[in-house]
Subunit: 226 residues, 2 copies
Amino acid sequence: MKISELSRTTGVPVASIKYFRREGLLPAGRATAATLAEYGDEHVQRLRLIKALTTLGGLSIAATREVLTAVDRADSADGTLKAISYALPVPVAQAPAVDEDEEARAGAAAAADVAGLVAAMDWRIPATSPHVRGLTTALRELRRLDADYRPERLVAYAELARSIARLDLERAAAFEDAPSLAEQAVVVLALSGPMLELLRRLAQEDLVRRRTTFEDSEDVGADAPA
Amino acid sequence: MKISELSRTTGVPVASIKYFRREGLLPAGRATAATLAEYGDEHVQRLRLIKALTTLGGLSIAATREVLTAVDRADSADGTLKAISYALPVPVAQAPAVDEDEEARAGAAAAADVAGLVAAMDWRIPATSPHVRGLTTALRELRRLDADYRPERLVAYAELARSIARLDLERAAAFEDAPSLAEQAVVVLALSGPMLELLRRLAQEDLVRRRTTFEDSEDVGADAPA
DNA sequence: CGTAACTCGATACTGTCACTATCTAGCACT
DNA sequence: AGTGCTAGATAGTGACAGTATCGAGTTACG
């Protein structure tokens, strides 16, 4: 398959394919001459994966490269899962410190919250996990906003998160023996998040709608404002 | 409070404060002269909210403006929730069509999946909801990747999403009568997502670790102190 | 064989985003 | 009166994700 055909079958412009090659997301084609290379199904598959991770998963090119590297290094099923999980970007930007003292106090309180949660859930997770750090940052900011961060609520969310994680791993396990395990695992781990977020929004929308049946019936089943 | 003080108490550079003003995220100070304005606590609060939405929530400046506009227009509690819910960006980028025929077929299949899900969940949601469109896009791409998109699994996720949404609304309801309802609602709706994602990752990490107790014990429990 | 169409890899350019810096004035406090 | 701060406008920056162009080589068709 020539690059133009690869472009046609995937819908990705030739220039972008070259860009992904440069960035190391896509292996080079098998060169048949100085100015000609042959691409195969694996390139089609890889391009689809790249598209999914960037457009659906919202990953940057750099993050996508990390994830794909983990995919390519994959050996054992569980090792793959862990590698991918760590390669995925943490969805909370690390804000720099604002005020020394206040920062330290709020940070310590948030860290205690997280530690308490991890203990309550009996999670065996090192304090160095990027996700722990991300959660600590998130709680620190929520605390600053006087938002509701009480441990009981956190635990309630965490329990549900655990149920979801179980579903995720069940889904990934279904591909345990497939050669495409790593790719499927990536899809599961990276794309479940956005999907779940959508489902949560839909559920919210439904619940809110049910509470407001009388005061506005304008857009149930009908239109939406531009 | 002068702009320099506002900057100091919030940790946001003066230039950024001016930028947020230009972009309409922050109301102007009360002008006391042609080149002097007075800022108050509401500006501090608003800046905190902006920071939270952009860094934690990952919202763009434009999206943040939408959300804040909804906050400012807020009247009834439920109306606010709905407005904010719709102002939040949908976490799935709308990919343009690749192939006419194939696109139409896959799109129709995905749309059917979503319709089935909405029916199964008894959700009262118009088909024009941005979230419905986003979910349709997501399923279309997952389908293209031969991922697991079976209705049973979707329903399982959706049930959990509903439980989470209930927690969200409970949290928001706690502020029903507070003057800061809209702001708290924003925090709940916009920032629960990233937090939940973090919790899900932690739960995944824990589950994976428990399945691999023997092959790597390097980082269970003990860890390098920062 | 000739040539038009295609390809490779390198380099340069473009548009968007979120700031950040600079500039011209005009106060305001001492 | 002078120093320091301010407002608002405009311009510049750096990162990101492509997109476009170019020179040189290749190849399929007539």
